[in-house]
C-alpha cells in the first residue's frame, strides 16, 4: 500500500489499534517481569521489584550486613509484619552471622530457613511474583547478595477487630458472637461449634488482583457431595479482578441471578452457619467479609431468626406467625389502602370511612399520590439514617418525624390515616429477620401500590400472582425457593411456620439433608 492516509476515521482507528497494541505489549512485559527468576544480584532484584510496584509506598527494603560482611536485604510490607518479631527473629540473628562474601555459592538461604525461622515457617521463593505474593501474606523476604532466589519468613501481623455482636442479627438469648473481617478467625468460630473431623474446609483464592481467600465448608457425611462439587465448580469458574465482600460471590454463583430476592443466606452468626451445615447445606466464608454465605437457602429460611432455636418452641412458633403476618402486611397494606379508598369504599366500615373522608377532604393528592409520596419520603429518611453517624441520626429521626408527621399533615399535603398505614408497614417490615429480604419487600411494595391504584383489588391480585410466579420459579442450588410451602413438603413442616421442639425434629430437612437423614438417635426423641 502506498500513499499517506488522510481519512480521519481510518486515522482514529489506527490510533486506537496502536494504543491497544502498546497496552498489550506492556501487559506481556509486566507478566514477564513478574515471572522472572530472582537473580543473584541484590541491587538488580531490588530494582526490578521497585520498578514493578512503582516504588509502592507500603513496601520497604531494609539492607543489612552480616558480621562477616555479607550484604543482604529484607523486603516486607509495612504494617503486615510484626516488627518486634522481625527484628528479634530475623534481623538480629542474620547480622550476627559470620558469613562473608566469599561464602557465596553455599546454600545459605536453606540455612536461613532452617535456623533463623523456626516459629512462623519459611519457604523458598524463586521469582518476583512469589516474593510479592508472600509479603502481602505477612512474610519478610530475605535476599542475600550473590545468592539467587530468596527465602520468605512468616512474621505476619493480622489487623483485625475483636469479635463483637452481630449488627443485623442480634438475639436476646443465645450466643452473641458475630463474624469479623478475618477469614481465619471466622473459621475458628465455626470450628468451635463443630469440633469434628467431618467438617471439611476447602480453600480457594478468588480475584485476580485481590487474591481473596475463600473457604468452602461442608459436613462430610451430611452434605450432599454433589452440592459441594457444584459450589466448588461455580467458585472455580469465577474470573473477576477482585472480591471485596461475600456479596460479590453471591451474585456470581447463585442459581437465579435476575431477582431482587435473596436466594442464599448471608449471615453474621457462626451458630447459623453451624446450623446450616448440620442441615446439609454448605457455607462459604470470604476473607475480608463479616458475612458468611449459606446455601441452598429458601424463603422460609429467611423468615427464621437464630433466636427461634434458643427459646421455647411455642414462643418461637408464635413469633414466626407474627413475622409472616408482618411480611404480608408490609407487602399488601399500602396497596390495599389505595384500592379500598379509591375503588372499594363499601368494604370500609361506615364510621371509619367517614373519619377517613374527613381527614382526606383537604388533601390535594389522590390516595396513590399520598402513599407513594410518603413511602418515598420514609425510604429516603431510612436510607439517610443508615448512613449518618449515630449523633446526627437522632436529629434526622426527629426532623423526619416532625416534617412528615406534623408539618405535612398540617399543611394538608397528606392525611393522617396514611401516616398510620405507612408508619405501620415501616415498623412491620422490620419484623422480617433477614435484611436482604427486607429490602426486597420494600421494593416489591411499589408495584402492589400501583396495581391497587389502577385496578383496585384486582390489580393487587394480578401483581401478587406475578410476584408469586417469580418466587415460585426461583431455585437455590436445585432447591425450590418456596419449599416446603410450594411444592408442599409435609416432612419439612416441622421447622417451617411451626418450630417443633427438638425431640420431634428427628430428621434433617428433606430438601438438603440427603446423605445422612437422621438428626437424632432413638433415645433423644
Amino acid at each position: 500500500m502506498t500513499g499517506i492516509v488522510t481519512d480521519p476515521d481510518v486515522l482514529r482507528d489506527l490510533r486506537i489499534r496502536s494504543a491497544n497494541l502498546i497496552d498489550e505489549i506492556e501487559e506481556v512485559l509486566f507478566r514477564n517481569q513478574l515471572s522472572r527468576p530472582l537473580s543473584a544480584n541484590l541491587t538488580n532484584n531490588m530494582a526490578v521489584i521497585q520498578g514493578l510496584t512503582h516504588q509502592a509506598a507500603d513496601l520497604q527494603f531494609t539492607k543489612f550486613a552480616c558480621r562477616g560482611g555479607l550484604q543482604g536485604a529484607i523486603l516486607f510490607a509495612i504494617d503486615f509484619v510484626n516488627y518486634e518479631l522481625m527484628v528479634a527473629g530475623i534481623v538480629e540473628p542474620l547480622t550476627g552471622l559470620n558469613w562473608t562474601q566469599a561464602e557465596v555459592g553455599r546454600p545459605l538461604l536453606e540455612q536461613v530457613a532452617k535456623t533463623i525461622a523456626p516459629v512462623g515457617g519459611a519457604e523458598a521463593v524463586d521469582n518476583v511474583k512469589g516474593a510479592l505474593d508472600s509479603i502481602w501474606s505477612g512474610g519478610a523476604v530475605v535476599f542475600l547478595d550473590g545468592t539467587s532466589g530468596a527465602v520468605s519468613i512468616n512474621v505476619g501481623k493480622i489487623n483485625k477487630r475483636s469479635i463483637t455482636r452481630p449488627v443485623s442479627e442480634q438475639v436476646v438469648m443465645g450466643p452473641h458472637a458475630g463474624f469479623i473481617e478475618d477469614g481465619m478467625t471466622n473459621l475458628s468460630l465455626v470450628r468451635q461449634r463443630l469440633k469434628t473431623p467431618r467438617l471439611w474446609i476447602d480453600r480457594m483464592q478468588v480475584g485476580r488482583h485481590t487474591r481473596t481467600a475463600v473457604y468452602l465448608l461442608s459436613l462430610y457425611g451430611v452434605t450432599d457431595g454433589a452440592l459441594v462439587d457444584e459450589v466448588k465448580s461455580r467458585l472455580c469458574q469465577i474470573n473477576i479482578d477482585g472480591v471485596l465482600d461475600s456479596n460479590y460471590l453471591v451474585e456470581l454463583v447463585k442459581s437465579d441471578r435476575w431477582t431482587i430476592f435473596p436466594t442464599v443466606l448471608r449471615t453474621e452468626r457462626p451458630d447459623r452457619v453451624a446450623a446450616g451445615l448440620l442441615e446439609g447445606r454448605v457455607a462459604i466464608i470470604v476473607d475480608g467479609s463479616p458475612l458468611a454465605i449459606v446455601a441452598p437457602a429458601t424463603l422460609p429460611m429467611m423468615m427464621t431468626s437464630a433466636a427461634d432455636y434458643y427459646q421455647n418452641w411455642m414462643v418461637a412458633t408464635f413469633l414466626r406467625i407474627v413475622r409472616y403476618i408482618a411480611l404480608t402486611a408490609s407487602l399488601l397494606t399500602p396497596g390495599l389502602y389505595v384500592a379500598l379508598t379509591t375503588y372499594h369504599q363499601e368494604a370500609i366500615p361506615t364510621p371509619l370511612l367517614i373519619t377517613m373522608a374527613a381527614a382526606r377532604s383537604d388533601v390535594p393528592l389522590p390516595a396513590v399520590g399520598e402513599v407513594l409520596l410518603l413511602m418515598v419520603l420514609f425510604d429516603i429518611i431510612r436510607e439517610a439514617g443508615a448512613r449518618v453517624p449515630t449523633g446526627i441520626g437522632s436529629a434526622l429521626t426527629i426532623g423526619g418525624t416532625l416534617v412528615v408527621g406534623q408539618a405535612a399533615v398540617r399543611a394538608g399535603i397528606i392525611s393522617s390515616p396514611i401516616i398510620i398505614v405507612v408508619a405501620g408497614i415501616v415498623i412491620a417490615v422490620l419484623a422480617i429477620p433477614n435484611p436482604e429480604l427486607v429490602q426486597a419487600v420494600r421494593f416489591a411494595t411499589y408495584p402492589v401500590i400501583l396495581g391497587g391504584a389502577i385496578l383496585g383489588v384486582y390489580g393487587i391480585l394480578f401483581v401478587t400472582i406475578g410476584l408469586a410466579l417469580h418466587l415460585a420459579s426461583l431455585e437455590s442450588f436445585g432447591v425450590a425457593y418456596l419449599s416446603p410451602a410450594a411444592p408442599i413438603r409435609p416432612t419439612d413442616f416441622k421447622d417451617f411456620i411451626i418450630r417443633l421442639p427438638w425431640f420431634r425434629q428427628t430428621t434433617r430437612p428433606a430438601q438438603t439433608g440427603y446423605t445422612d437423614v437422621m438428626r437424632q438417635g432413638p433415645r433423644s426423641s
Binding site: 457444584e230 406475578g466 436445585g478 418456596l482 410451602a485 408442599i488
Partner: protein, 380 residues
C-alpha cells in the same frame, strides 16, 4: 443447567409435575367455574335439588377418571396424541385439532366470564383492563412452566382460598336453613339430570390430564389423586351451589350470580360488611388457573403434534387468539351462559369422555398395549 441441578431435581424438586400438584391444579380450575358460572346456570335449572346434580356429576366424574386411567395404564407415558396416532392414524387429526380449538375457545369464554364477573365490581372499567392482565399472567405462568404454576396454585389454594372459604362459610352459616332444600325432587328427575350433565361437562374438562400425564412424576399414583380431585371438586361444588339455596330458598333461581349475592349478605358485627370484594381473590385465582391450563394444554399438544422444541410462542399466539375471541363471543350474559352450557353439556363430554372411550375401545379390540415405557423428554 448443571448436573447437580439435574440430580437434585430428580430426587427432590421435580422438573415434571407431581400427581398431587396436577390434581390440585385441576381442582382449582373446576372450583373457579363451579362457584361462579356453573352456579349461575345450574341453580335456575335445578333449583333446590342442585345437590343431587352435584352427586350425580361426581359419580360421572369418577367414571371418567376410571376411563382415563385405563387408557393411561394401556399406554403408560404416552400422551393422547401418540395414543391416537397408534389407534387412529391420520384420522386422529380432526379430534386433536378439536381438542386444541375447544380449549382455546374455552380460555376465551373464561376471559369473557371473568369480565362479566368483574363488571359487578367495576361496571365502568373497560373489559381489556381485566382480561389483558389475566392472559398476560397466563402466558407468563405457562412460559415459566406448569410446575411453577402448580406451586403458586398450592400457595393460593392452601394459604388463601381454603382459609378464606372456611371463614366466609362460617360467617354465612347463621343465615342458612337446611329445610330450604325441601321438598326433594319437586320437579322430577329431568332438571337433576340436566344439572348432572353440566357437572359431567365440568369433569370432562379434566381430560386434559391425558396431555399432562406423560410429564407427571408418578403415573401409578395419578389415578388416586384424580379421584381425590373429583371428590374435592364435588365437595366444593356442594358448598358453593347448595349454600345459596340454603340461604335464599326458591329465590336463588332468580339471581344472576347466586353465590356472589350470598357473599354480599355477610355482616360481621355492626360495621363490617360487604366482604364480597375479597371474594375476588377466589375467582381471580380460579379463572387464572382455568386460562393457564387450557392455553398450556393446547400449546403443549400443538408442540408435540408439530414437533416443536418449545411452546412459548405457540402459547403467546394462542393467548392472543383467545383474547381476540373473548371480545367477540357472547354479546350478553345470557348468551354467555348458553354457550357455557352447550359446551359443558355436550362438547366437553363428547371430546373429554367420548374420545378417550373410543380410543380405549379400539385399543381393546386391537389388543394394543404399550409394554415398554419411556418417559417423555419434554419439560412442561
Amino acid at each position: 443447567m448443571s448436573t447437580l441441578i439435574a440430580k437434585r431435581a430428580k430426587h427432590r424438586v421435580p422438573l415434571k409435575i407431581g400427581h398431587w400438584e396436577l390434581a390440585f391444579l385441576l381442582t382449582t380450575m373446576a372450583a373457579g367455574q363451579e362457584s361462579t358460572v356453573f352456579n349461575s346456570i345450574m341453580t335456575p335449572i335445578v333449583g333446590r335439588d342442585i345437590w343431587l346434580s352435584v352427586l350425580l356429576g361426581m359419580g360421572l366424574g369418577a367414571l371418567a377418571v376410571v376411563i382415563w386411567s385405563a387408557l393411561m395404564a394401556r399406554f403408560p407415558r404416552e400422551g393422547i396424541e401418540t395414543i391416537a396416532a397408534q389407534l387412529l392414524g391420520p384420522l386422529r387429526w380432526p379430534f386433536l385439532v378439536a381438542f386444541v380449538v375447544l380449549m382455546t375457545v374455552y380460555a376465551a369464554i373464561a376471559g369473557r366470564t371473568f369480565t362479566s364477573l368483574s363488571a359487578i365490581i367495576f361496571p365502568t372499567t373497560p373489559p381489556p383492563m381485566f382480561v389483558v392482565p389475566l392472559f398476560a399472567l397466563a402466558v407468563y405462568g405457562g412460559i415459566l412452566g406448569i410446575q411453577v404454576v402448580a406451586r403458586v396454585n398450592q400457595l393460593l389454594l392452601f394459604y388463601v382460598d381454603v382459609p378464606a372459604g372456611m371463614i366466609l362459610s362460617m360467617l354465612l352459616m347463621g343465615q342458612q336453613r337446611m329445610q330450604r332444600i325441601l321438598p326433594i325432587l319437586a320437579h322430577g328427575w329431568v332438571p337433576v339430570v340436566s344439572g348432572g350433565l353440566m357437572m359431567m361437562g365440568l369433569y370432562s374438562q379434566l381430560a386434559m390430564v391425558l396431555i399432562f400425564a406423560p410429564a407427571t412424576v408418578s403415573l401409578q399414583k395419578l389415578k388416586g389423586a384424580l379421584l381425590a380431585a373429583v371428590g374435592m371438586i364435588g365437595l366444593m361444588a356442594m358448598g358453593h351451589n347448595v349454600g345459596p339455596v340454603l340461604q335464599f330458598g326458591a329465590l336463588a333461581k332468580q339471581l344472576a350470580w347466586p353465590s356472589f349475592a350470598q357473599l354480599r349478605l355477610i355482616q360481621v358485627g355492626r360495621d363490617i360488611q360487604r366482604l364480597d370484594v375479597f371474594a375476588v381473590v377466589l375467582w381471580v385465582h380460579g379463572y387464572w388457573i382455568l386460562v393457564v391450563m387450557n392455553l398450556k394444554a393446547s400449546s403443549l399438544l400443538l408442540k408435540r403434534l408439530f414437533h416443536f422444541d418449545q411452546d412459548h410462542w405457540i402459547l403467546a399466539g394462542l393467548a392472543i387468539a383467545a383474547y381476540g375471541l373473548s371480545t367477540v363471543v357472547a354479546a350478553t350474559q345470557d348468551v354467555l351462559f348458553r354457550e357455557v352450557q352447550l359446551l359443558n353439556q355436550w362438547i366437553f363430554p363428547s371430546l373429554g369422555l367420548g374420545f378417550p372411550l373410543l380410543l380405549l375401545g379400539l385399543a381393546a379390540i386391537r389388543g394394543s398395549r404399550r409394554k415398554h415405557q419411556s418417559a417423555r423428554a419434554d419439560n412442561i
